[in-house]
Subunit: 699 residues, 2 copies
Amino acid sequence: MAPHTDFAHKLRPAPPDGATIIKCERLGSDLDADQLGQYLHGKTYIDRQQRILDIVKREKLFDKTQQTNLSRPDRYKLGLARGKRLRQLQDVHRWDDEDFVMAEYLVDDVQPYHLHISLFTAALREQTNDEQRAYWMPKVVSWEIIGAYAQTELGHGSNVRGIETEARWDPQSQHFILHSPHLTASKWWNGTLGRTATHAVVIAQLLLPAESGKTDVKYQSHGPHPFIVQVRDTKTHQPPNSIIVGDIGPKYGYAPMDNAYMLFDHHRIPHSALLSRYSQLDLLTGVYTKSKNPSSLYGQLTRGRAVIAMHARLVLARAVTVAVRYLSIRRQFHDRDDPHKQGPELSVLDYSTVQIRILPLLATTFALHYSGLAMRQLYERTRNSSASDGDRVSENADMATLMELHSTSAGLKSLATELAANGIETCRRAMGGHGYGGGTGLIQLNADYLSKPTVEGDNWMITQQVAKYLIKKVKEHAHSLKGQALNKTEENLKDYLYSRTREPNFKVLEDDATLVQAFNWRMSWLASRAYDAREVQRRPWNSLLVEFHKLSRAYSQAMLVSNFHTAIASAAVQELPTTTRNALTDLFRLFALNTMDHEAREFQKSGAVSSDTLDEVSDTVLSLMTKIRPHAVKLVDAWALPDYLLDSALGRYDGRVYEDLFNRAHVLNPLNKVTFNPDYRNDEIVLGSGDVGNIQAKL
Amino acid sequence: MAPHTDFAHKLRPAPPDGATIIKCERLGSDLDADQLGQYLHGKTYIDRQQRILDIVKREKLFDKTQQTNLSRPDRYKLGLARGKRLRQLQDVHRWDDEDFVMAEYLVDDVQPYHLHISLFTAALREQTNDEQRAYWMPKVVSWEIIGAYAQTELGHGSNVRGIETEARWDPQSQHFILHSPHLTASKWWNGTLGRTATHAVVIAQLLLPAESGKTDVKYQSHGPHPFIVQVRDTKTHQPPNSIIVGDIGPKYGYAPMDNAYMLFDHHRIPHSALLSRYSQLDLLTGVYTKSKNPSSLYGQLTRGRAVIAMHARLVLARAVTVAVRYLSIRRQFHDRDDPHKQGPELSVLDYSTVQIRILPLLATTFALHYSGLAMRQLYERTRNSSASDGDRVSENADMATLMELHSTSAGLKSLATELAANGIETCRRAMGGHGYGGGTGLIQLNADYLSKPTVEGDNWMITQQVAKYLIKKVKEHAHSLKGQALNKTEENLKDYLYSRTREPNFKVLEDDATLVQAFNWRMSWLASRAYDAREVQRRPWNSLLVEFHKLSRAYSQAMLVSNFHTAIASAAVQELPTTTRNALTDLFRLFALNTMDHEAREFQKSGAVSSDTLDEVSDTVLSLMTKIRPHAVKLVDAWALPDYLLDSALGRYDGRVYEDLFNRAHVLNPLNKVTFNPDYRNDEIVLGSGDVGNIQAKL
């Protein structure tokens, strides 16, 4: 029987069905989710999302239903087709950059052109001199050439100075000779380069003649420099014989992306290939000059970190949305204390062991939002003020804060990506059996996001930067408490150093402002200990890395708590209706207190919070969750994640979980269109096909 | 150029290469890995592994290189072919059950026949009466029929009593009528049933006539019962019209497994379909009788939990093996305190932030090993003693312990699967960039294992069982301290209750035995608090679930520490060479102290360990890791995981990491055999093919 005519067609879920339950959930809370959504995202964003959604959801190429049934080579092909279609749509609808980013986000599948649009374009825009920019940018913008950014190598990631690829200047021929001296010099991981790109910005050690001998020339390395290199022929799309380039093969996620390996065998590139905004090699004299990178790079980095936090919050919001909706619908067992055990079983989201996993993550989405926003606003303010005749004092203060953020935002990257990556998995497990299925809509998100804790700075390694900055600041203020605090962090450190002998034991359950103080105190205590261990006791750096990691974590948690607290006290929040305002305040407390509960010993040992108060934190967390629970569905609604994006049976807005799960299995699954031969004595796989050996041939 | 003739062929990794490094690692430790391996696994196991390995690695069908490039439908086909081949090899080589399990383990891909061999066979063996067994078992053993076990439903998982599928007895026709009243009654997740099985054991509510009315018959439910049902035709492999059955579609992992959905529309099955060992329905009188399940089921469960712990340790050992080998080879940055910064960069495994993530997990593999082993031995002892004329006293003690384990082993399942699932991901992240690639050999293991924290008892939910048991035991002993302690747990609880007012502050850094005492004390403190909250303060069960989860965790950690401690004091360990013995002792301390460090506040609050002592724990953990580090490679070697199983470029025994990564990319990746058309104005995907629209047609 065909799926549409068989007896399953007339079956409905046992009452109460998901659609009814989720309606009741929404009726049970007077929180205005649309209004909260507008407040969070801004009207421009909400309108853009709807406008782009209407376009992309009509495109057959962006249909997501069969994606998980394709092989990895087909996923690349689909990605290429989708990337082309996105660009075609951009041309047709005259999308600006933000429109395009929104379209990529909604289609929710990385496309092989991604590194062309992002890193390659940025590198050419930032690192070219005027002449180079005028030559290359039109080709880049029109996609006449497709580029990638080739920095990391098989043997070298984070330590850029250690890369092996060489660019040796040959004064005779006036060419650079790109060469890979070892296998480990192979470029590796470089997205868009594996099968798609025609060009690449290649980072290589610039080798220049140091002195001339009789028979040979001694060379000296001037460190890694960027070169633009054509890697494939415009017509045949084949590399020259002196370049080997290809795709590295399947990864955890990002199936449609062609991450590359690339080797050079004395490949010659012209003098103009050296991107020369910050370093120049005089063609005639052979003289090398280098300018310092401008301070605007601090801002760029801050902006990048803000993007990471904002991205993390939406990724996490997606997992939390799916979990909250499904778990409010899912029923399991009656309450053990209910003597009658009649009527529907308990909503899974009513179990405290489920709430403790999901609701703090719901609070975390807001915490990440406010810190991402704060960083973004700071970046924009400093960018504007440096171009205008603004208030000099606040401008200087902003610059100091920006410099601080440059050093410490590594910690936020580390914490935000960890919270989001672990949070997705926590949500998945809380969903029990169905959490393991494709109906979650989280499989690809999960696999893709797992790259984040290790790319763009390994989450553990980069926390050293935070420690380095804070130790320096403690050192500056440890012996002269009268020095001026240039920013909030220095103020917090000074406050601590001034009164370190006392134990403030903040009454964190009585006053929200003391929560912020407690987090700052504990951070300062750890910073002071780190300073003591390194600068006074002179302990080896390597033996302190674990402590540094804790310090960075404490610092970033303090930042999240502080920005969250500032936000709920803001005028924008005070203008929201009481229910919404109270919910945001409860989420703030939940985030802060739940974090404190997990790090209780540090708060106690530092004297920030007394042991007796800490004992009450767990129960306060439980009662906060009881207050938030009735608004949970509305709160995730506020993140305004369209069903098209979620692609989740469990997380659908209308609650028709079981109907959707069944439809995916019974109607959409191609495996059910084939009948198999299970007799082990017969090597045939598809019954009646005689296909003996076919599948083995694919190995 | 073809991969074998191009210039990459002559390139080698930059020195020191992985092969050299890993040789030096092994030379640097005098630990005898083979001997330790024999001690851990036993000679029988090691020999079996080698014997089966020699057979399976020769089979083309078991080649793993292209597995990750196949679509999900092809993964099922490959799984079916592999399942057939495994059974054919069993026939040829006369494998016993353990040989077959070993072959499945080494091939390392779940096969669609798996539930036939495991749950279906067990159900028919355990739940049939003699006549049924005689009829069905020959067909099962010969694979004449292929069976599945159909219990969970779309709307019901853990709460088996809530399943909706009905088996209504019709006295007139003497048939049961199987029926799915709602969509949520659909069987769901049932492995082997989606496309493979011909039969299934179906769990359904047994409905029997309660009383006869004039026009209709009232029915009464007798709860879930097992029925054997033919679900597909022997020739056509199609279900009858009254059954809908199929595969539920892609999941996180287990791609080759056909997890099923199944619905019944008044499907009739004969009286003999009710598996009648424990429940009978008299065909003539209609009288229903039910016997109590025998206590041997306690043992079955214990054995099952032992298997979970033993499986978890090998899964984790695999991730740790890959991580330790790769991270000892991988170099990154010079030591910050090294003024010269010459020579090779530092081995990543020498960073304390890497050690703190990997080496405690190495210790965890041993901790899980000893608890799994202890449970298995206990199970075997009780099984033997109940069949023989053994020592009555020790037999009773064993039975009491077994009863305890039946209640508390849920906690070990929860903790062991969490440690392993999280441990794989921790190892992966510690490997940085390459940890995200296919070269880890961990992608499939990771995806498959993520099912474990939620199947066979959700990891959070089942911890209630532990709390229930411990609260009961505290209740028994709280008021009469003279009652006899029937097992170790009761003894620990009594010790605590007897002297609860004092704070023992065990000197855990001076004496290993006190480590065990400290874990037991903290567990007893939590148990006593749980008893107090529930039985004295009468707090709602639901409000205590988070505390119960902590109690279960503390209990299971105490079990792991205690069994580990017993093992290293055993004669078998005392006979090992000093290096090995010391390494095992260091691993024990590392496991115990690192666990303590993470739960420090509970140890402090319970009075088990003083705050001052706890302050020293972190540094002791660091110095233990320094002692273990030189033996790390040898210690993972001892787990004896063959390269064929690992299928990992990063984790190869010979250390040729970069050569293997490059080979997988450049030689094995099929995507590199195709040239693409990146011009977005042209919808063609493969250059020159004119394949416009081909990939869209697959959606």
